[in-house]
Symmetry: C2
Subunit: 464 residues, 2 copies
């Protein structure tokens, strides 16, 4: 059902916001109809709230007048979750971007949802504190968006994901009520855990207007090492041996042969041409421990036939080692015009099986498949390289995606580690959670949003 | 609404289970109508499931025939959450107590809900692994019960709570469907997070039949220290100074003067009579680090006027230091016949304010109030000592409880850190989460359980 806004509804929404914070001019609305997927669908009106009350009034109107509302942060999502597929109002949360409190005594912070994650990290680090979640988009994406999507990142192997740092929220429900969820403390069992239900609900259950985050003390030092291997299996055995020693590194990043080759072609980082796998490993914490652990890891990698081992001696060398990883996305884009990027996750011991099956699949569909990601937590970004304009090839690529998810589930995995479902993966949802799971999502959605006005058409294949 | 089971309904339930696993004999049903609160309400029939299918069939029948079902583990809860207040069937999960898998490579385990937490911890520790959550009841309580109630424990300050280790569940929904939630991995964002919604939902949204838990490597060593202080403020300043140094101890337990006095009277542990506060502090991890941290903590406590400092040199001394803490519950019970035990939580920097206000309150109501708990995460067990049979005094005690929650909320706290709401705190729920929060709980409950047959009458004051 497509609901369009009549002139009166537009005027009523406009009256909620001061003139500079609302617009239905084409050049404004077009800018808020897409995300990183390239999918696009313009809202009819865009507004920039500065208070929960403005959000509440807009949602109440939406229920009364039958239009839809979709909140968005920086629009860096990979699954179309913030695209207003039924038009209506886009609420862009980026002007609610204040740090309201950093509580050094209790290691918490209170922020607004539009605050950029990387900026927040810099601010807390100045005070000796640490906010671990580090999605690749962190210099652009917002904390509200990170929470709505349940963002992850390389450090998750040691520190967990956004969920693990979200203590409490102020949420405007789809029906307009403003509620407070959670607490200022890690411990709180007071009614259903709506805080974590909001995390990863992709903006379908409420609009976040305040966020209470948990912080940690900033680790004293970080040690960084790059290891090259002649086989994926050796690299996987190194990962297993590291964790078996009781070491949980801060990051444990993996790149396959195609990734290494692409980066080498792109920036000439001096990586060996015959490498089948690369691990980028960091330890952190107290100086002597981080040092001891990186040395143990070096020894393990060496025993497992690492062909090259480089430990950064200073920040500049650390940057050099990360360069290969950071330039990867751009490097891969040179292989083919279109990159289909899936973020499947398997138990980390299944990574060799996964890589081997993906290699067979690449041969079968005759397309490059490039794999890299977070080996420590089994979260691998699988990139099928193709050309959207070549219809026959693109169809083959989409067929490969079907097989990738089937391989992932057969290995005990999950079809999204950190990107979410949105529009892109909705048709695969049932293969993981079953029909009863989908029905339950729909029933909960209706319990929150009886008129289905908030970000409709997401997660479940055909909406509620 | 009280629904009683007719003979046909009883026979149909009995037919689901083999004879030894089901009973409606008075001596059997009476044993499953109470928990640690002393509240009591017998079910009409008790059954011991061994499979999710038996649970599913029972719930389907309950919807058809209009009786209620309440699941329970070991019945150690402190808020009445497992009491079958509308009779019906009690499903005792203790015969589903197998460890189905311990996956050393991926640091996860798959278990059944009736497994005793402490037994599970011993098994994983044999393999060099570690399951941190440690509710005081761990030698009796079950993992399913811990998850249903969102259990905490002393180690939460460093390691988090049960929620943080629950990766995925098999759940029988109130309507009988069996669903799988979550994943085998930390990273997974695939539809709403029903795993964490189940945690702390007190058995009202589904019955857990399998549990996938996250494990950690077992810390190499544990170091234990006891510190006595002449004022609560000094002990709180020590807590603040420790965390400011970037040290997160494994446990950071607090006992107030009344607690110390009670223990001293009970076991004569040699604690100084003039102590106003005791901290029991542990560090763990790699040997050199745990050692370094305990020494730093010792120095901090010393600078902050600790009147006594004892660091355990071996396991035997460690046990001695813990003895004061472990005997506390029994020691306190000697003060008065009735103990009203509330587990409020405040930001840890507010503990001195909390203790001071509780001391004023004790004077005002002329009753002993004994405080101890987890200083590191602000979770303080407040015990109002009274005699249930002295009506006037008991009314005063209950009045004090009202004031305790008001004090807690005014300090930015939460009314339950680890016990939950159940029956006991339902009437205080609105003061923390508001009417809109309660309404949302009811709507979600109905979305899961349209006929309100599963553990009705809990959390919200008057049910749905």
């Amino acid at each position: 059902m497509l609901r369009m806004m009549d002139q009166q509804a537009r005027d009523l929404v406009k009256a909620i916001f001061p003139p500079g914070d609302v617009s239905d001019e084409p050049e404004d609305i077009l800018a808020y109809g897409f995300d990183a997927t390239g999918n696009e669908c313009a809202p009819e009106l865009v507004a920039f709230p500065r208070s929960p009350e403005q959000v509440s009034e807009t949602l109440k109107l939406a229920n009364e007048r039958g239009f839809t509302v979709t909140a968005r942060g920086a629009g860096t999502g990979f699954v179309g979750a913030s695209i207003p597929v039924r038009h209506g109002v886009a609420l862009v949360m980026t002007r609610m971007n204040r740090i309201l409190e950093i509580d050094r005594d209790n290691f918490t912070a209170l922020v607004e949802p539009g605050l950029v994650t990387g900026q927040f990290q810099k601010e807390v680090e100045k005070l000796g504190l640490f906010y671990p979640p580090d999605p690749a988009s962190l210099n652009v994406s917002t904390l509200g968006g990170n929470i709505a999507m349940g963002a992850g990142g390389p450090r998750a192997v040691k520190y967990g994901v956004t969920r693990d740092y979200t203590l409490g929220l102020e949420v405007v429900l789809p029906t307009g009520e403003i509620i407070q969820t959670g607490a200022r403390t890690v411990k709180s069992v007071v009614g259903y855990d709506f805080t974590r239900l909001m995390v990863g609900s992709e903006g379908t259950l409420g609009i976040i207007t305040k966020i209470r985050l948990r912080l940690l003390p900033k680790p004293d030092v970080v040690r960084t090492m790059l290891a090259m291997f002649g086989s994926v299996n050796d690299s996987a055995m190194a990962v297993a041996a590291i964790t078996k020693e009781g070491i949980i590194p801060r990051t444990l990043e993996f790149m396959d042969k195609n990734s290494v080759t692409a980066v080498e072609k792109y920036i000439g980082a001096g990586l060996p041409a015959d490498a089948e796998a690369l691990l980028l490993i960091e330890t952190d914490g107290a100086k002597e421990l981080a040092e001891k652990e990186i040395n143990m890891i070096k020894k393990i990698c060496s025993q497992l036939n690492a062909t090259q081992l480089r430990v950064a001696r200073d920040e500049a060398e650390r940057e050099t080692l990360w360069k290969a990883r950071r330039s990867l996305s751009q490097a891969i884009s040179r292989i083919s015009p279109t990159k289909i990027n899936e973020d499947i996750t398997v138990p980390r011991s299944k990574i060799p099986d996964l890589i081997s099956k993906l290699s067979e699949l690449a041969d079968k569909v005759n397309l490059p498949i490039v794999n890299f990601g977070h080996a420590g937590d089994g979260n691998i970004h699988v990139n099928v390289m193709t050309d959207k304009n070549n219809k026959e090839e693109y169809a083959r690529a989409l067929g490969a995606v079907d097989e990738i998810f089937a391989i992932c589930l057969a290995l005990g995995g999950t079809i999204s580690g950190e990107h979410g479902i949105g529009l892109e993966k909705a048709r695969y949802l049932e293969s993981e959670i079953g029909k009863a799971g989908i029905d339950l999502i729909k029933r909960v959605k209706i319990a929150f949003d009886p008129n289905d006005i908030l970000n409709p058409g997401k997660i479940t294949p055909e909406g509620v």
